[in-house]
Structure formats: C-alpha cells, structure tokens
C-alpha cells in the first residue's frame, strides 16, 4: 500500500507538469497579448510596451518562460498580476474560501440527493417512479447550467422570493444554497443515474438472493448488502467530481455574483492575465489529481477484492 502511494505520487508529477505545460502553452503561445490588452482602447506606445514585456520576462523564448514559471511554482511562487501587481497567490487565497464552500455544499447536495434518487429509481426499475426519475435526470443534464441558474434565480429567488437570488455574503450557507443547487444539478443527475444502474445490476446478484434466503429483513438486505456493493462506482465518481464542481464554478459564480475562483479566473481570462489563469487552473489540476489518488485508495477499502501492487 505504502509503495503504491509513493508510486502514484511519483506518477502524478509528470502528469501535473504535462497538464500545466499545455495550459501554459495555450495561454502564452497562442495569439493575444496581455501587454497590449493592458492599454485598452488607447494607442499603444511600442517602446513602453517592450520595456514592460522585458520586465515581465515575456520577451524570452516560450520554453524558457515555462521553465521560469515551473521553478517558481515549486517554490510556491505563483507569479504576479500584470495590471494590479498583486501576487497571484493572494488572488487565489482570497477567492478560494467562497469556492470551497460552494463546491462542498454542491458536493453534499450531489451525494445525498443523487444517491437517494438513484436508489429509489433502481429499486423500482421498470416502474413509473423509475421512468419519472430517469426523465428528470435527463432534463437536468440537458438544460445547461446557465439556464438552470437563471431559472432558479428568477423563480425561487425573484418571483417567489423563497431564497436570496444573489450572494452578498458567501459565508452565509443559506445564500449559497441556490448557486450550489444549480452547480450540483448536472452531477446530481449523473450520480442518480450511476447509482440506479449499479443498483439494477446488483439487485439481481446471487448474493442478494442469498440475503433473502437467509431471512434478512428487506431493510438490511438493501441497506447493507445492496448499497455496500452498489456504491463502489458511485464513490469513485463522486471523488473525481469534486474537481469538476470546482471548474464548473466559473459559470455559477458569474450568475450569482460570488467572488470565488471561477470569477477570478474568468476576469483574468478576459484581461489575459496569464499568470493568474495558469495559476488557478494549475491549482484545480492539483486538486483533481490529489482527489483521484485518494479515491483510488478509498476504492481498495470499499472493495476488498482490489489489491494494490
């Protein structure tokens, strides 16, 4: 087990370097000029711009730039914003708490509602309830998050006034509920469908027949035997989904006016703040990789048949 973890950690390094490299290249090697963007509408002064480029290291070869960035990164230096001269790490740590709260709330909604819906549908597979839940999940998947966000905001927030339509204080979980629900919608639908499939596959399994033959109560047969087996793939999906939820916050945070990582990266993209974009995306990649590793280890706990060599 220990050796497996070490090996996986070592494998993570090239993947992380590779992913950040691609992001870096996409940001800097493609057309578009952050220094020119800085000037806005005004006619740019070439000499001034060149001086700024030299100052920021933007005149160096692209590979050299990446090397500089990477060595900085491993020393904890995420770089500096061009326009505001702020440290990117400060931008991240300022925006992070709101996103973490939003992501975790969405995650809880996804897990609880998704598994419950999948369980109900799976146990009644082929029936009307099942068909209804399946169609509902298809609906959640096919309505894009920005539409869902606006619908929630307009109806729950503005027209019916149940809940605050925008987020003034991201520490108030009540205010975060609507955006979290919008953010969770898609994952929730996937979790429900995955749980359902898994339940349907397992409920006719031989060991379920054994459970009945043993005279176990239905509650015990489903709650212990069926769920324990069916949730293995769901847990894996949920783990990997944390990264997705964080990345998906770009849209949700925009609609609900939450000052989190998603908004920060979106604003940085618009103003071509390369260091900020690459910094935040790298951070999300790191979260994704670490969670993927944790999920793999969790998998061995949940399924004793898996052994890591």
């Amino acid at each position: 087990m220990g050796r497996y973890v070490v090996r996986r950690l070592l494998q993570m390094i090239p993947v992380f370097i590779g992913s950040t490299f691609i992001i870096f290249m996409m940001m800097y090697a493609l057309p578009g000029d952050p220094v020119r963007a800085l000037g806005g509408e005004r006619a740019p002064d070439e000499a001034q711009m060149n001086a700024l480029r030299a100052d920021l290291g933007l005149d160096e070869p692209i590979l050299q730039q990446y090397w500089n960035y990477l060595t900085g990164l491993f020393q904890g230096d995420f770089g500096t914003q061009i326009a505001s001269r702020r440290e990117v790490i400060d931008v991240i740590s300022e925006a992070l708490p709101a996103t973490i709260r939003l992501t975790l709330l969405a995650f809880v909604i996804t897990a609880v509602v998704g598994i419950a819906m999948g369980l109900i549908a799976g146990l009644r597979a082929g029936g009307k309830t099942d068909a209804g839940i399946l169609f509902f999940t298809l609906l959640l998947i096919s309505v894009p998050v920005f539409v869902i966000g606006y619908l929630y905001q307009t109806y729950f927030g503005v027209k019916w006034g149940w809940i605050s339509p925008t987020v003034r204080d991201s520490e108030d979980l009540g205010e975060l509920f609507l955006p979290a629900l919008a953010l969770a919608s898609l994952s929730l639908a996937y979790v429900a469908r995955l749980t359902r499939t898994s339940i349907v596959e397992n409920r006719r399994a031989d060991y379920m027949r054994t459970a009945r033959a043993k005279g176990l109560t239905k509650r015990r047969a489903v709650g212990v035997h069926l769920l324990r087996n069916s949730l293995i793939p769901v847990v894996t999906f949920l783990g990997v989904d944390i990264g997705n939820l964080m990345a998906g916050a770009v849209v949700t945070e925009g609609i609900f006016n939450i000052h989190g990582l998603g908004r920060a990266v979106f604003e940085a993209l618009k103003s071509r703040e390369g260091a900020t974009v690459v910094g935040i995306v790298s951070f999300i990649i790191l979260v994704y990789l670490v969670v993927a590793l944790l999920v793999d280890l969790l998998y061995a706990v949940l399924d004793p048949r898996i052994r890591y060599a």
Binding site: V15, I22, M26, M27, G32, L138, I141, L186, F237, G254
Partner: protein, 330 residues
C-alpha cells in the same frame, strides 16, 4: 457544470484504471459429464447490431429522439424552410416587450422579438446550424483521433500503451471547460471551426479511454486468438475482428458526448468566449437576453428550450442505443 457531459464521461473513464487492477479471477469448474447440460433450443442467430436495431425500432424514446434530431438536421441545412425572415433583420420599432404571438406558428412574431427587434424564432432556426455543425464535427474528429489512439494503446499494450496513456492522463488533468476557454480567448474572431478545434483538442481523451478499455477486453476473446493462429495480419485483426466488436460502447459514449459538445458551445458562447458576431448561436442569444430576464423572460426562455431539447434528444438517443446493445440492463 455545463461542460460536464463530456467531462463527466471522461473522468468516469478513470474508473477503468481501478477496474484493471487485480480482481481475483473467478474460477470456473468444468461440470462433470453426466446429465447433458444443454442450453435452450437455438433460435435464429442474429448479430449484436441487427438485434439492437430490432430492439430500437420498437422503442418510443428512440423514435422520438431520432425524429427530433432529423428535424434539427433539416433545420440546420435549410433554415429558410422554417422561417421567412432574416435572423439579422432588426426592426427597432418592434419592442421586445411585445408579447409573443403563440398561436402564429412559425411566423416571425411567434416567439416574440429580442432587444434588437429581431425575430426570436428566426434566430433560433438559424442558430441550429452552429450547434449541429459543432456537435457533429467535434464528435467525428474525436472518434477518429481518439479511436485511433485508444486502438493502438489497447492493441499493442507495452510501452506504446504506457506512453499514450500518460498523454491521455495529461489531457484528462485539464478541466474541459476552463481549458477550452483558455484556448478560445486567444482568438479575437472565433468561427465554428475555432470552437470545433478547441473542443476536439481537449475532448478526444474520452473516446481514447473507452476505446482502449474496449479493445483490451475484446483482444482477449477466443476468436481473436483463433484469427491470429490462422495467420491473420495485425491490421486485419485490428480492423476486421477487433474494431467491429469494440465499437459498441464507443458509439454510445460518442452519442452522449455529442450532446455535451453542443452544451459546451452554448456555455462558451454564453460566457462570450464562444462564437463571435456575426455568427448566430443559441448560447450567445441567451447571453444577450440575461439582462432583460426580469422583464422579458421569453428572450431567454425559448432559445434555452430549443437548446435543451436538442441536447435531450442526443442523450435519449445514446440511452436507447446503449440499452439496446446491453440487454442485461433492461
């Protein structure tokens, strides 16, 4: 998380890594030869695909989804058949507050007007093309490229697989939507092809993973060993024996992913990083409608409904095909 359709799929592909970890082989014991354990009398033999087609034709969800998709394709190819006015023709005397005339089917005023006084219905009809072209083209590119990578990795294994799988891992690490945003923001004018390339650049890994797993499981089948022992060449085995049998899960994933790419385009356009003017895109129209949502929600609602129906149709199609190909899930 808008782009999750492809993303969730590709991430859930991560399951396959754990799946290939050692599970104890289930021992199979040969039954003693006493009473003959014969199966039921053999029926007419049918192939997986013709069986699936047989099954599909009887499914209402499939028929509905296929019909809608057909109509959308026609709409994309011949928008003039559905609306007489130009989507760009702006009549500023027509106030967007004017109620939609819901009984005037297919007329310019059917679904009302937007802030520029353009017919919402006309813009919806003409917006179909972008969504369909992008969805289909990205899926096609991804199928060919991802399929090839997955086939090579799965078939040859060893160092080829090791290298290709690392590359796939690297791409999988990049968040799909954020990644495409980073690419697209670099271009000042973005046509359908810019968006297609950006989505395909990060989307091919989904198919590669599914194909690899599928090829690995098919490769171990006895008929492949039989073909090899009869002296069939590598390419022949790959194309004639493995590809047809490994394709089913790939096709299903591709259909669902197609809906995801359409969503992704809409989200990008909604964020203002997708198609640029003069292209007409549902996402872009929805974006421009958002500041009027409290007074005139139809500007946002109708394109959203059509967009959702489109994505829903592809999802339902993929679902139906998957069920037809995998009878044990019924």
């Amino acid at each position: 998380m808008p782009d999750q359709a492809p993303e969730a799929l590709k991430k859930s592909g991560a399951l396959s890594e754990t799946e290939t970890l050692k599970k104890e082989a289930i021992p199979t014991a040969a039954a003693p030869a006493t009473v003959v354990e014969a199966g039921p009398a053999p029926g007419r033999p049918r192939s997986l695909w013709s069986d699936a087609w047989h099954e599909l034709r009887r499914r209402p969800t499939f028929l509905i989804a296929a019909t809608i998709i057909l109509v959308l394709f026609v709409m994309a190819a011949f928008p003039g058949w559905f609306t007489s006015v130009s989507p760009r023709e702006a009549d500023l005397t027509t106030n967007y507050l004017k109620e939609p005339q819901l009984t005037h089917f297919f007329s310019p005023e059917w679904l009302g007007y937007n802030q520029q006084g353009q017919s919402i219905w006309a813009r919806m009809v003409h917006g179909t093309r972008a969504s369909i072209i992008i969805g289909v083209a990205v899926t096609a590119i991804v199928l060919v490229f991802g399929g090839l990578v997955g086939m090579l990795a799965g078939y040859f294994g060893g160092w080829i697989d090791a290298i290709l799988s690392r590359i796939v891992d690297v791409f999988l690490g990049i968040p799909f939507l954020l990644g495409t945003m980073v690419i697209l923001v670099s271009f000042d004018t973005r046509t359908e092809w810019t968006v297609i390339m950006a989505l395909a650049f990060l989307g091919w890994t989904t198919i590669a993973r599914v194909m690899r797993g599928s090829v690995i499981s098919v490769k171990q089948a006895d008929y492949v060993a039989a073909a090899r022992s009869l002296g069939a060449g590598t390419w022949r085995i790959m194309l004639r024996h493995i590809l047809p049998n490994a394709l089913a899960p790939v096709i299903v994933v591709a259909m669902v992913a197609l809906g995801g790419y359409i969503t992704a385009e809409a989200v990008l356009s909604f964020l203002g990083i997708g198609l640029t003017e003069p292209a007409i895109s549902w996402g872009g129209d929805i974006n421009r409608a958002q500041d009027r949502i409290r007074v005139a929600e139809h500007i946002l609602l109708y394109p959203s409904i059509l967009l959702s129906i489109t994505i829903l149709s592809f999802l339902m199609l993929g679902d139906a095909v998957r069920d037809a190909l995998d009878p044990k899930l019924r």
